[in-house]
Each structure stands twice: as structure tokens, then as C-alpha cells.
Symmetry: C2
Amino acid sequence: MRQRDKRLAPAVTIKDVAKLAGTSIATVSYVFSERERPLRPELREKVLQAAAELGYVKNAAASSLKGKRRGILAVLVAQFANTFFTRMCVDIESIAREQGYVVTLCNSDEDPAQERLILERLIAQRIDGCILCPALAREENATLLRQYQIPYVILERAFPASFSEHNFVGHDNFQSGYLATRHLLEAGHRKIAFSGWDSPIPNVRERVNGYRAAMREYRLTADTERVLLGPLTEVAGRDMGARLLAEGVSAAVLGQQDTAKGTLLHFQDHNVRWPQDISVVMIGTPEWADFLRPRITCIQRPEKQMGREAASLLFEVMHVPSRPPVQRIFPCVVIERESVKRWEE
Amino acid sequence: MRQRDKRLAPAVTIKDVAKLAGTSIATVSYVFSERERPLRPELREKVLQAAAELGYVKNAAASSLKGKRRGILAVLVAQFANTFFTRMCVDIESIAREQGYVVTLCNSDEDPAQERLILERLIAQRIDGCILCPALAREENATLLRQYQIPYVILERAFPASFSEHNFVGHDNFQSGYLATRHLLEAGHRKIAFSGWDSPIPNVRERVNGYRAAMREYRLTADTERVLLGPLTEVAGRDMGARLLAEGVSAAVLGQQDTAKGTLLHFQDHNVRWPQDISVVMIGTPEWADFLRPRITCIQRPEKQMGREAASLLFEVMHVPSRPPVQRIFPCVVIERESVKRWEE
DNA sequence: TTGAAAGCGCTAACAG
DNA sequence: CTGTTAGCGCTTTCAA
């Protein structure tokens, strides 16, 4: 009676079901548990009946108290609205669901303090596992996960100093820069610039290294290199567009898709045509690229596979927490289109 | 000792903290509870110390057992990768975080069965509240939330038959169709088509109604109306592009952004120029529209405000569950650009 | 086959 | 001020 005073009727519990079915709570528990236990079929039926009648749903939180899994996985990314992440998340989510987990998708918005706060909340929820794409690629918060013994996988952004200490899924940034540059070199270009995000994250730096390596292979010395970096904004990208033209290069690697957007908008607004005026290769495959004509030659990262891999690696870690960390790096491919023309000196 | 046999060390609990601080578990509980209780400052300090030393984090699941809130809010959308939803989610998430909640973001992928499964999982987690954008605008699953007394807000897709029975936040679909059409009519167009998604969702139908209403205001009879609908794919959109041209209209309302993408790609690939060859107004503001030249006149929906409103309405419902349902409909605005030319008969 | 009962980690009377 | 204790809903051992 006192309970009825509350605004909400209390949720139906195992006890209510047991009473209605005329059995004990243990029996009800077993009916809804994964663990098998011999049970007279008609009793089982009665329990199921009663549960359906009352609309019983097992309380996962209570269940977790007794050492059962919580049924929650977290995915914490740094740039929620970035399609690169969104695409991976879609697959992570569907795999997790197949395995009976709900996924909590959070956004640190590239802010380590925010990320820390979110992780603390997630730890308070006693999540079963976490896929983390660390804000600004900072390691400190990953340590939290380790400290609380939560199985986790680092996604896409590695910690160079302790690379092999974490489970990791990412793509080969070096290779993406290398492939993009080599593609231009093979087309005869020699004055090639690289533009991208001037970030604390090693990813773009790795791409720059790939660019440099390719340049070296063609015996191009350091003084021929042109690396333009700037903040992660459209405006900065536009600015890089202008600088790219001022540099007088015949080709450019657009090394990061958000800044590339600004650069290409600048080109478009100033009647700079590709590949006539400048040849370009972009790292990434944002949706807006579908509208560019001529179409842009891109370096494609295998987002779907990466998402699937991150999820299955997480499950492996959850099953065998003592497993030594593994790192899985995915290669990229060149999607050749019409933004590169042959260059004859 | 037996505990140590497990692969994972057991999480530190209130008991461990109490022991180290040399106090009772009740005291520890109060230190970490929102409820105030007079407490000697130095004791409080000792508890905090001990907790920090052990790395104690309150178990939200256990806490929820005693009627405390769980600290989880769910957002379940039908099209996870659609920027319209993503943008709203970003704001919902940040508001929820301010209030101390973790947001679980799920994707039903426009499949009611999937949606039901997810909702059951969420109910099992005893989420504190839910924002639901129902797959195919079907009502059946919203009923689940009501049945389990979970505070909820329906987002963006209304149930016409029982509109006022649910808390709702959405934009004015009728008005968006109306404004788009009137904009074209005011520019002198009379042969105007409407294209969009042939969906079971009332939203696009409402937009069509808006289109019709505007046409009527200009004394255009039903036989001058041209409504083209098709599936939610780029290919279907391209097809609509071709049909739009075949219809010989001078202007079109692109009533849904995913099909609009196909239509505009078709135009682009067939050298159909806007506004020279056809004037267009699009409902929606997808990111790719930034690249279209001339720029497309759009109907903008206030995504940010809608997200914030959905979140705050949910909090209101959570505080006063008995509150009669309210519906909040947001108006749209015309963002005028260069895709409409004056039409002289 | 089934049930009784002892907790899981935490909250909140209630008693000192 | 602070500690004791009875649960919250569920799992699982042990006994019947």
C-alpha cells in the first residue's frame, strides 16, 4: 500500500512473478537465466505465463550485482559528427547487439577533461567494455580504464610511446600519406604539397611521414617538401587552399578531410579547377565528395572493417582479459578518379 | 583470497573504503550521496582520502537498486547516420551530461523489430528516460515505454491518431512544404513539382500537404500538382531527377534530403543547371549542400533547438511523470540562396 | 526437481 | 554526529 503512494507503480520483480506462478523466486530466476537447470516443462510454462501477464523484464542492474555482465558496452569518440566515426559506430553497434549488448555512444568533443568525466560516469555504470578514440590522442584517460580493469580497445589514435601496451585498431596513416604522394609522383608530379590538421594527434604526423618517405624515394630533397598545417576548421582549410596556390605546386595531398573541405571550397569559389590547375588526392571519403566534379581521387580507409574489428577485438579481450595486447592496423586503398593529371616537366 | 582467483581483482566497494578510513559504510555512503548529512569535516576528509587511494567509484547499478536514479538516458533514432539526427544528438548529449546523465545512443535502422529489441534491452537496464524517434513512425514500441513507466519524449515523428497522448518535439513538416512552395510561387513559378520519400512516415505526407496548400492559395488546381515519391535511396533520387525534367516543370521542391541528393547528382551529371534549367528549393541542410554552386535555397530546421528542447522536456517529464503530455513544434525558415530564378510566363 | 537463504554494493531508517 | 541494520532484485549454493 505504501508503495502505491509513489507516483510510479513499482516495476514488477521476480517475486511478483513467483507469487503469481505459485513457485519460488529461484525457479523464476532459472527460467530467465542462461544457466540450465532441470525444470518441469509445465512449471516453466506457468512462469513464462505469469511473467508475460505481468510484463516482467529482468533488472539488468540487479543481475549485474551478482557478478553477471552488465550488458553495456561504451564507445567514446572524439568527434561524434565526423562520418569516419559514425560509419564505424554503426557496425560496432550492430555487432554488439548481436552479442546481446547495448552500446552507449558518447562524444568527448576532442576535450580530455570531458572525456575523463564521461569515463568516470561509464565506470560508475560498470560497463563491460569500452572502445575509445582518445581526445587529442592523450593517454591519461586510457589509463583510467586499465586501472578499473575495464576491457578496452583504443580506436584509430595510437600512443606512440606505448603503442604495444594497448589493444588497438586503426588504419595505416603512414601508408595513406605514402600512397597519396606516390600516386602523384607516378603521374609525374614533383612539386607536391601536403596539407592537413596541425594537431597534437600523431595520425596526421604519420601521414606527413608517409608523404616524406615517398618524396625521398623519388630523390626529392627536404627543401622541396611543402607541408601546410592548420587548425581543424573550414576557414583554416580555405586558407591552406590559398597558400597551396601561392606555393606554386602542381599537386597536393589533402591530408585530412575537414580541412580538405575548406581547401576545395576555396578552389571552387576561386575557379581553381582540378586537375587542370592543380592535381589533388584526398585522404578520406566524406559524403560531400560525391558532389565534386571532376571527382576526387581519394585514399579510402576501411571504416566498416575497422568497426567490426574493433568490436570483435573487444569481445576477445572481454573473454580473456589476460590476453597480451594486440594491434591491428588496416591498410588503405587508392580510389582513382579524375583529380590527377599527368605532369610533364 | 578466493576472490583473487578471478582474473580481475574485484572492484573496490564502499566496504573497502570504510575499512581503510576506519569508519562505517553508512558514513562512506553519505559522503558520496547527494543527500546532506552533518559530518565532521575531518572524517569526511579521511573518507575522501581513502576513496582516492583505493580508486573507489560508486557502483551506479547497485545504487539504482535502492530507488536511486540509474544515471542513464537513452536516445533511440531510426537513422543514425543522418546528419539531421546527429546534430540533435550532439546537443541532447551535452545537456544530459550537464545533468549528470550518460546517454546511450542507439540505432533502430528504421526497423521496428530491431527497435523493439533495443527498447527491451534498455528497459532491462532500467534507464531513467528515453528520447525516441520511432522507426517507420510506428506507435507500438512507444507503448512499451509507457507500459514500463519510463519517461519518454517522441522526437520528430508524430503519431497522427494519438498525437496529443505523447510528449513530442518535432518540426513543422506542413510548414516546411508550404514555405518551400510559396517561395517558388512568389518567384512566379506555377508548374511546380514536389519530390520526396514515399514513406509510411507522416512527415513527408505533411510536407506534401503544405505544398498543396500553397498551390491552392495561388488558385492552382489539383491537376497541376505533381508529386513524385520514391524509396529512400540515391538511385531513386536520381530517377526522380529524370522524371522531374520529363514533367517539364519550371521548379521543384526537393522534399527530403536523401532523395534530393540523388536528384541533384542526376542534374549535375546531365548538365542540368539550376536555376537556369529548373529552380529548386530543398527541405533540409545536409553538409554536402555546401559544395553546390549555385548554392541551393533550403528550408532549415532548427536542429540544435530541437535537440535541446527534447532533452529539457524529457527532464520535465522525469520530474513530474504525471504531467499532461505536451507537443512542441518548431517552425522552419527559408535560407534564400541562388537556386531559384524569377519566372515570367 | 525445487526451495530456502545468503549475499552482491548501496541507501536510509533508526538507534545510539 | 555516527554506526547498525534491513532491504533493493537477482543469482547460486545447499539441502530437501
